[in-house]
Every structure is written in structure tokens, then in C-alpha cells.
Amino acid sequence: MSMLSNQRLLRTVDALAEACSQEMARDDSVFLFGLDVDDHKAIQGSTAGLLEKFGPDRIFGTPLSEDAMTGVAVGAAMAGMRPIHVHIRMDFVLLAMNQLINMGAKAHYMYNGQIQVPMVVRCTIGRSWGQGAQHSQALHSMLMHVPGLKVVAPTNAYDAKGLMIAAIRDNNPVIIMEHRLLCNAEAYVPEDLYEVEIGKARIMSQGDDITILGVSHMAIESMRAAKFLKEEGISAEVIDPVSLRPLDMETIGNSVQKTGKLLVVDNGWLNCGLSAEVLASIAEQGLTGPDGQPVQVARMGFADTTCPTVRCLEDHFYPNGRTIAAKAYQMVKAQPTATWLPPEGVQPEIQEFKGPF
């Protein structure tokens, strides 16, 4: 992360609120709307203070009408405004697919550049405390499938602010996928306005033995895995893709050519997902490791099931630092049946998380 002045430790939600507030002050075509954005809970605090500062014309709650409200965002964007539409869970975006994909993603192309759709869709992936089948989905892979859309997934407060600003200024529909467990995570965030480039991955920790690409919350779990692996003398390079579409295959490709091994850990299902895309792209390019051998690849992600509610099943639904480390260990040691598992570690954002929501 580049060094900018006036850094403060901020929670991700505060960084998001700050980004919106600064952009709304800078550009009066920006407005923010969605269910519950203007209540006292303020979407975990991520919209806090905006109503007081900008009034109900520029931040307002809506009826429960995700489909039409997405259309309203599309239309307002076509007219030159810069709407930010907020969903408190990504699962509800399934109600907005028609507008997002049939209109939002296509208008600029279909109308041959005459119209732009500079809109932002914020949505949060739920997890823990029994979010269950319908409040825990991460649908980025579906959205990544569609030309015309951009998708980003900040995993820390710094990126959250910089991506939010970049997304607002982008002239295309940008989906910002947040993660409920990361809402309160703190990072140093500059006071100034800055953009985090959409389309650039970030190397979170350098390493030589294996590349681990961790998406959204799995970037955090991958860092945990890297720590476990270090104790075994394995040096993992952890990459946070930050931007999912466009995806920075160059950074990933460079890393795997150095390590010769790639483990993609998606915060989502595998089938036809981001992890498939990355593995396919590496294979298609025929990338090789330092030994000249093809890069060895593997992927992890949500179990190929619906998400169960009870914690003891949920624990097996998601990869975690230990299972990621174990998989990486097998790959590095070239022992596919090795059963080494790191000791139980702490996952404060999970262990400390208590709903009710």
C-alpha cells in the first residue's frame, strides 16, 4: 500500500463512509440509496453521518424493490448521476440480475457508447452466526462472467476507501463486494482522497514456495495459512486479487512462475467460479515454474453444497487458515496424502462475531 499522509487506524466501514462522504462533497452527482442506508444502524456504520451531512435527497432508504431500484440506479446513471446502491446482503442481488446484466452491463455497448452507466453496487457477503443458505452467498463469479461489469472485493479498510472512490469515479457499473466479517477490521487509512486501481492485485506477503491467491475473507485466511506454513519452513506468497473483474492475471502469473505452485482459495463456490478462471488461464498460457515444469495448481472454496446454518457444519463449508495450510503443505511437499494440520489458531473475526445479524 502506497504511503499517503495523515493515516489513521479506521474500521472498514468507517473507511467506506469516509470515501462516500468525501466523494459526495466533491461531486454533487453522487448519491447513495438502498434499504436501511439511512437508519441508526447505517449498514454496520458504513453510511453513518451521510444523512446529517447531505440530507435526504442524497441519501435515502427505499421500498423493498431491489429490481426496480437497480433500474432507478441505471437510469439515474444514464442521466449523468453517480448512484451508489447498497444491498445489506449479496443474496438480494439475485433480484437485481435483470437490471444489472440486461441493462447496466450492456447499455454502453448496445447504444454504441452514447450512454454510460457510472453506478456502484455495494453488497455484503454474510457469514457466521447462522446466516445460512440465503444470507451467505458470494456471487462474484456470476457477475464476473458478464462483459460490461466490474467487480472488486476489498479486504481491508485502505482498499475499501480507495476502491469505493475509484468505483464512484469509474464510468461503468462496479460491484463492490464486502464481507460481513471484515466490517470492523482496522487498517491505516489516509485522510486524503485516493483511488485504489481497479484491476491491480496486491501481494500481501512475499514467498517462494507456493502462491496462494485468497479472495475476500479468504485473503485473511490465506495470510493465516502463510503463518502456519512459515513455521514449517514453507514460504508462501499470498496475493489478494483486490479486483476480480478485471483480474490482474499478470501479477498472479509472475508469482506462479516464481513459485511453480498455485493454490486459489475463493470465498465462493468453485464450479465455473473465479478459481476455475484463474486455473484455466494459467493452464492456457502454459505457464511453468522455475523448474520448467507446468505450474501445479489447486483450488479451494465453499463446499459444493448450500450453506448450512449450524456452526459445526458451517466450519466445514468454508476453508480456513489450517485447511489452506494443510493443502499448501501437501502441494509443496509433493505429498498429496500428507495429513499435517496446523494447531488450532485464532480467527477473532469469526470467534468474536455474534449476530444477531
Binding site: L35, D36, D39, H40, K41, G61, T62, P63, L64, S65, E66, D67, A68, D91, F92, L95, S128, W129, G130, Q131, G132, A133, Q134, H135, A303, D304, T305, T306, P308, T309, V310, R311, C312, L313, H316, F317, K354, G355, P356, F357
Partner: protein, 318 residues
């Protein structure tokens, strides 16, 4: 059912709902129930009234705020509590939790946490029951529960139109607590639900009094109309949520609350009212039974095992 029997029956249901949920309030800080709970405390009368005219093989379709109707429709209390604990003995083996309670043998269609989704699903079930009745001669009915907020989703308008067009055996019940999370209805809806629905010409009811007997009479009248093959009916029942939207706490002083409303509705508490009607002796008897049921459900849940990890992979496909 005689009037005293009705009073007793409604009281027992409402009190059971109330006590079950008060038990949840008590248990929740122990973190044994790890799932969002949307309580119906204050709204029990609706569930009791709505389920009263239903047979076991009639169907009720629920939202995430489903404890009250789950109980009122006759859901197994032990399996319900076990589900909230996430136990293998739960009504869905721990996979559902509070937001997706289900018990098809009691006519309880699974609940959904996505607002509005169950409305067309309930209509689809009703379509099947209309079909079934042509063969059996017996019309089972579907009661579709939903909140005021659901009526803003496009699928509500789509479903109402379809149900009227096909004369489906469904009673739409809008449980209007005038809130969607913290967002008051007047900031979400340009006109009243009554005004919007009236033109469809369904038999309609609108209970604003909070009076469980009025609810009961209206729901009964409309359910029987549906059962008689007259097509869908619609009722809106005004009520009030006493606790926070999700979770076990009061949020009396949250800015979205109007304290006068809360006070008015608490003074209009139907559980207390019916207890008084029944007299201390009868009430004590019922209460004792209810306490046993609730306590038993907790014991059952606590003593049950969690599902084994193999369960993660069962029932992905039928």
C-alpha cells in the same frame, strides 16, 4: 368450538409463543443459539388467529419471522428448539436454523429469509391444491404469511394478479407492523396496502384493533371462503413488534420508534387480556403446562447431538 374454548385455545397458543420466545430472550446471551432470531413478541395474536381455522393438512407459508406461526400451526416444539440450537434432532437437522423453520407433516412449508420469496411459492402450492381438490373433492388451503415490507416487492403484485386470475385457494395474510427493519411504512409505500389490493376484488379483511377475536373471526370467514372455492382472499392485520427487528433485545429508545405506539400496543396486549378473561385458576393451569412444554424443548435441544460433518453433504440433490 364454544367461546370459552376459543378463549382458552387462543390464549394457550399466544402464551406458548410468548413464553417460548421469552425463553429465547433468556437463552440468547448464552450463545447457544447462533443464528439471527426475528421475534414475534407483541404479534402473537396474529399467529394464533391465523392458524385457528386451519387443519393439520392445510399449509402455512412463512417468512423468517416464523416462530409464532410454527408453534400455532402445531409444529413440534422440541424439534423447533433443537433446530434453533442447530441440533441433528432439529426440524431440519440444524441446516435451517431460526430463519428457515419447516415441518411439512404439520403443514408448515419452509420459511425463507429473502423477503417476498415465499409469496409466489405459496401460490404455486395453492395451484397444486386446487388441482388436488378436483380429484379428492376436498379443498386444502394455503395461508401465506408476510410482512408489510414484502408487499413492495414486485413478486407480490405479480402473485396477487396470478392468484386472482386462477382463483387459487390461498389466503394472503399481511402482518402489518408498519416497519421494515427500522423503516416506517409511510416512507416506503405511496398508498395503503388496502387501497392497492382492493381493486382485485378478493374477499378482504382489515383488522386494526389488535383484538385477537376480531382477527380470529375475520380470518375464519376468509379461510372458509377460500376453502369453499371462491378463490383467494386477503387480510391485513395491524400489529406491533415489541422488540428489535432481529435479536432478543428491546430497542425502545431507538430513534425509529414512536414510544406512544409501543405504549398503546403494550396496553393492548392480548395475552394479558385473555389471561384476565380466563381467570387466575385456568390461566395458572395453562401456564404450568406451557412452562413444561418450553422447558422440555430446552432440555431436548440441549441433550441432542449436533449433526456429524457428513451431514454437510446430504440433501444437496434429491
Amino acid at each position: 368450538m364454544t367461546q370459552p374454548e376459543l378463549v382458552q385455545s387462543l390464549y394457550q397458543t399466544m402464551h406458548l409463543v410468548r413464553r417460548f420466545e421469552e425463553k429465547l430472550v433468556e437463552l440468547y446471551p448464552s450463545d447457544k443459539i447462533k443464528s439471527p432470531i426475528h421475534l414475534s413478541i407483541g404479534q402473537e395474536a396474529v399467529a394464533a388467529a391465523v392458524c385457528a381455522p386451519l387443519n393439520q393438512d392445510d399449509i402455512i407459508s412463512n417468512t423468517y419471522r416464523c416462530h409464532a406461526t410454527h408453534i400455532a400451526k402445531g409444529g413440534n416444539l422440541n424439534a423447533m428448539m433443537a433446530e434453533l440450537y442447530g441440533k441433528a434432532t432439529g426440524c431440519a437437522g440444524g441446516k435451517a436454523g431460526s430463519m428457515h423453520l419447516v415441518e411439512i407433516e404439520s403443514g408448515i412449508l419452509g420459511a425463507s429469509a429473502v423477503v417476498g420469496t415465499t409469496i409466489p411459492v405459496a401460490a404455486g402450492y395453492a395451484l397444486a391444491l386446487k388441482n388436488e381438490a378436483k380429484k379428492t373433492g376436498e379443498q386444502r388451503v394455503v395461508t401465506a404469511m408476510f410482512g408489510d415490507g414484502s408487499t413492495e416487492e414486485g413478486c407480490f403484485a405479480e402473485t396477487i394478479n396470478f392468484a386472482v386470475l386462477h382463483k387459487l385457494p390461498i389466503l394472503f395474510v399481511c402482518e402489518n407492523n408498519e416497519m421494515a427493519i427500522h423503516n416506517p411504512i409511510e416512507r416506503r409505500q405511496a398508498i395503503s396496502i388496502q387501497e392497492r389490493v382492493k381493486p382485485y376484488g378478493m374477499p378482504m379483511g382489515h383488522v386494526t384493533s389488535g383484538d385477537v377475536f376480531e382477527m380470529h373471526d375475520e380470518v375464519t370467514r376468509l379461510t372458509e371462503s377460500v376453502r369453499a372455492g371462491n378463490g383467494p382472499a386477503f387480510i391485513e392485520i395491524e400489529t406491533h413488534r415489541w422488540l428489535e427487528h432481529v435479536g432478543p433485545n428491546n430497542d425502545d429508545d431507538a430513534p425509529y420508534r414512536n414510544p406512544a405506539d409501543l405504549k398503546k400496543w403494550k396496553e393492548n396486549d392480548q395475552v394479558a387480556r385473555l389471561a384476565e378473561m380466563l381467570g387466575t385458576e385456568k390461566t395458572a393451569e395453562i401456564n404450568a403446562h406451557v412452562e413444561e412444554l418450553v422447558a422440555e424443548s430446552v432440555t431436548f435441544a440441549e441433550q441432542s447431538a449436533f449433526p456429524t460433518k457428513e451431514e454437510l453433504y446430504t440433501h444437496v440433490y434429491a
